[in-house]
C-alpha cells in the first residue's frame, strides 16, 4: 500500500461559539476563541490518499490532479472566507479544527478517482495545533 500526501493552505476567519450558550459560558469554555468579531488562522491542510501505483505511470495519483481536486472541492470554499458565515457545509457546526477535518473529508471523499482512497486529513490550525482524521 502506498500513501501520498498533498499539502495545501487557506487563510480564514472563524470563532468558536455555541449558539445555545450565553456569551459568558462561551468565553468560559472557548476563551479568546469565542471573540464575537472572529479571529483567524493560516491553515495548513495535508491530504493523504492511499492505493497502488499504476504500473504504466508509476503514480498512485498525479499530485497535480489531486491538488486540483482539493482546490476545487475544499480550498476555493474556505480560502479568505469566514468559516462561520461563508461556508454552507459548516453552517450549523462549531468551527473547531476537529469538525473542519471531518467536513473536509466529507467534501473530498466522493471526488477521488477509482483506486484512490482517502486515508487522512490533517489540519494545522497553528504551528502548534494539529488535528488528524482517518475517517469513521
Amino acid at each position: 500500500m502506498l500513501f501520498l500526501t498533498r499539502a495545501e493552505h487557506f487563510n480564514a476567519a472563524h470563532k468558536l461559539f455555541h449558539p445555545g450558550w450565553s456569551q459568558e459560558k462561551n468565553e468560559q469554555v472557548f476563551g479568546p476563541c469565542a471573540n464575537e468579531n472572529w479571529h483567524g488562522h493560516n491553515y495548513d491542510l495535508f491530504v493523504t490518499v492511499k492505493g497502488q501505483a499504476d504500473p504504466e505511470t508509476g503514480m498512485l495519483i498525479d499530485a497535480k490532479k489531486l491538488s486540483g481536486i482539493i482546490r476545487e472541492r475544499v480550498i476555493e470554499g474556505l480560502d479568505h472566507k469566514n468559516l462561520n458565515l461563508d461556508v454552507p457545509y459548516l453552517k450549523d457546526k462549531l468551527c473547531s479544527a476537529e469538525n473542519l477535518t471531518v467536513a473536509i473529508w466529507q467534501q473530498l471523499e466522493p471526488h477521488l478517482p477509482a483506486g484512490v482512497q482517502l486515508h487522512c486529513i490533517k489540519l494545522n490550525e497553528t504551528p502548534r495545533i494539529h488535528v488528524e482524521y482517518f475517517g469513521s
Binding site: H9, P32, W38, H39, G40, H41, K81, N82
Partner: protein
C-alpha cells in the same frame, strides 16, 4: 568598530481582518484587493519578529532582557491583536487599512515608546510564510 549586536524576539498572534477602502464600492474593492476584501473577513496566524540592536551592557551582557522584551510585546501588541478582528476590535484600523504594511508601522509605534532610544528597533511581520514586511525599511 562599535560592538553592536542585534537580538530578536519572535511572537505570534491570530487575527481576522479585511482589506477595503470605505469610499470605494464593492466592485472596486474586489478589483484592487481580490479575496482579501471579503466583507465577512478572513484571517491569519501572524508571526512577529522584533529586532533590537545595541551595544551589550558590559555587566549583564544583554542588549535587552529578552523576557522583558517579550512582556512589552505581549502587553503592547498581543493583548490588543491576538484572537481579535483588527478592523473591528482595535482603534488603529478604523480608518487605516490593516495591510501587513500598516500593521507593522502600528506595531512599531506601539513598541517604540517602551524601548530605550539608545536601541534601534525594527519590526518584521509575516502575514503568511511567503508574505512578510519590515519597518523601518
Amino acid at each position: 568598530m562599535e560592538n553592536k549586536v542585534s537580538v530578536f524576539r519572535r511572537e505570534h498572534f491570530n487575527a481576522a481582518h479585511r482589506l477595503f477602502v470605505a469610499e470605494w464600492d464593492d466592485d472596486k474593492n474586489q478589483e484592487v484587493f481580490g479575496k482579501c476584501s471579503n466583507p465577512n473577513y478572513h484571517g491569519h496566524n501572524y508571526d512577529l519578529e522584533v529586532k533590537i540592536t545595541g551595544i551589550p551592557d558590559p555587566k549583564t551582557g544583554y542588549v535587552i532582557d529578552l523576557k522583558k522584551l517579550s512582556n512589552i510585546i505581549r502587553s503592547q501588541v498581543l493583548e490588543q491583536f491576538d484572537h481579535r478582528n483588527l478592523n473591528l476590535d482595535t482603534p488603529f484600523f478604523r480608518e487605516l487599512n490593516p495591510t501587513a504594511e500598516n500593521i507593522a508601522v502600528v506595531i512599531y509605534g506601539l513598541l517604540r515608546k517602551h524601548i530605550s532610544p539608545a536601541l534601534d528597533l525594527r519590526v518584521r511581520l509575516y502575514e503568511t510564510d511567503r508574505n512578510f514586511v519590515e519597518y523601518p525599511a
